[in-house]
């Protein structure tokens, strides 16, 4: 297991390097100019200077390697400086956003909490309602509960979040006026009252995203349970005189969880990626929303860094999913 993990980890390094190059080249090839928003009255030679100031006058591979150095060396050093009050990164050039002229990592650090609370919470809620629903739907296949659950998850899965989001805003924000339709990032939770305000402003985006996540995962759980419920070992478990609770929640569930846990683990990076559209609908200024605005304004360092962080998360959670698989299924041994 350890050698497998180590090998996979080592393979991940070239994988990520190639991914970073591909992202960089794609951004390079994409149309658009970071200075596109600069008024036309600015003379071309000034524009050239601005371009040079952003480092855009050097060749692409120079910029690529500079970015690599900044991302893998300067930014970690800055983190160390921040954590331990040291001065290792003094005077080194960080990854700077074209748009705000602020270090990219600072912006990301500001945005992560919103994304994690809203999107992370909705993932947690989605998973924790999806598993019981999936288990019970499979156990009572074709019952009214199963039919209803299947219908709702079909709706949740097939209706896009920008639609459910807007529908919820119309119902709860406009008609009933229960929840605010815009998320206030500046809101600080200090007491019970402000906590309730926070809960109310999170309610709608969390609902939208939980529905979507739960729809997907409950389908997985259901079909995985159905695969296992008819297995011979279930009959053996019943023939041993075990209660239905033990048969279903120990014998069947343990087997059914193997593929589902993988799906859940692979879904975690999407939390960090933020629900780009949902954040946009509810004006939650999380990472997803940041990515969209940066793409609009051709803020290449920002887009590059964010996308690459998502790539790291995806590769990491793939590895974690593989390792979980080995832990959950004794038939799989990575040796």
């Amino acid at each position: 297991m350890f050698t497998f993990a180590l090998r996979r980890f080592l393979i991940a390094i070239p994988t990520l390097l190639i991914i970073s190059l591909v992202i960089f080249l794609l951004l390079e090839a994409a149309p658009g100019d970071p200075l596109g928003e600069v008024p036309l009255t600015v003379p071309p030679e000034v524009k050239e200077k601005m371009r040079a100031a952003l480092g855009l006058d050097s060749a692409w591979f120079v910029r690529y390697f500079l970015w690599l150095k900044q991302f893998f060396w300067v930014e970690p050093l800055n983190l160390v400086d921040y954590l331990f009050n040291t001065q290792y990164a003094e005077g080194m050039q960080r990854v700077i956003s074209f748009q705000s002229r602020q270090p990219v990592m600072q912006i990301i650090a500001q945005r992560v909490p919103q994304t994690l609370t809203v999107v992370g919470l909705s993932y947690l809620i989605g998973v924790s309602i999806a598993l019981p629903i999936g288990i019970y739907s499979a156990y009572r296949q074709y019952s009214w509960f199963d039919q209803l659950g299947t219908f709702i998850s079909m709706v949740g899965f097939s209706v896009p979040t920008f639609f459910t989001g807007v529908v919820l805003i119309i119902i709860f924000g406009v008609k009933l006026q229960w929840f605010p339709s815009i998320y206030d990032t500046m809101h600080r939770v200090t007491d019970w009252q402000s906590f309730l305000v926070q809960v109310r402003q999170m309610a709608m985006p969390v609902m939208v995203l939980s529905l979507y996540n739960a729809a997907q995962i409950s389908r997985f759980m259901r079909s995985s349970m159905l695969d296992n419920l008819n297995q011979d070992y279930v009959r053996t478990a019943r023939a041993k005189g075990l209660t239905e609770k033990v048969v279903v929640l120990v014998h069947v569930l343990r087997n059914s969880l193997i593929p589902v846990v993988t799906v859940i683990a692979l879904g975690v990076p999407t939390i960090f990626g933020g629900a780009i559209i949902t954040e946009q609908v509810f004006k939650v200024n999380g990472l997803g929303q940041q990515l969209i605005t940066s793409i609009h304004s051709n803020d290449m360092p920002m887009v590059m860094t964010l996308t690459f962080i998502f790539a790291i998360l995806i590769v990491t959670f793939n590895l974690i999913a593989d390792l979980l698989y080995g832990i959950l299924d004794p038939r799989i041994r990575y040796d």
Binding site: D232, Y233, T236, R238, K240, G241, L242, R254, D329, R331
Partner: protein, 333 residues
Amino acid sequence: MPDGAQTVLHVEGLKTVFKVRGGEVHAVNSVSFDIKPGELLGVVGESGSGKSVTMMSLLGLLPSPPAEVREGRVMFEGRDLLKCTPSELRKVRGLGVGFIFQDPMTSLNPVFTVGFQIMEPLRRHLGMNKEAARKRAQELLELVNIPDAAQRLGDYPHQFSGGMRQRVMIAIALACDPKVLIADEPTTALDVTIQAQILELVRELRHKLGMAIVWITHDLGVIAGIADRVIVMYGGQIVEQAPVKELFAHPRHPYTRALLKTVPSVRGARAAKLNVIEGQPPMLTAVPTSCPFRPRCANAIERCAAENPLRRKVGPGHDVACFRDFDEKGALA
């Protein structure tokens, strides 16, 4: 047939129906039999004759729906298992009646250790704590001749071979010292040498533990070697019942005789072609009103189409469900 207090399991008029789209399949039709303590009852019949369904019906192991046990009595330890609540029935499963299934490859849960799976019934039915159950599980593995028992408790099913897994299944079934052991084609999925080992093991355990065994198979050779008494099933009914020697020496039902003829002989000239019973077993979509074997029977008469023959006594412990009389050699008397 039933001779009172002597029997450990008494089944009477059992009827099981499967509800399928567009109708019903009558898989078990008025099956009655009983088994005495320490006896090994062989149940033979081709696929789909209702052998397994009968035994599964006894303990409510069939998925319901579609299965429904419609009529009958199953007397075990003074009560009717068909009238028991699900929780009473669960106390009988594993504790009073042990089950061994056909395919040891899929009958064990792949993600739990063998030790855990043997200990489960011990802890549930006998209320053992972890240590006691572990000790007993080790004894059980030793009982079924698995070497290195203490070590192997921590192994997973995939680390065992087919024959070893079937031994584990037997250990699980025997865990709580059941009065009756129901073995549903336990050797069908195994190769012949392993099969011989398992048969030897069962024979040995039977003498050691003295429980009654119901052995379902379609292998007549196995039956001849191991059973005391044999039930032949066809179309969800028992068509003949006899002590094993009597059955092989004087089969009375045309189906039994046909079945015995299909066994190739290892002595004498080699037959050019294997004997088969022409036709297909019936799919009973209603309660049979005629003899189910009639379409494939060479000796059918008009009466066979008009009514379903009941079992009648033809010798000591020997009864047959056929209108016609056959003599010792099987010719019409």
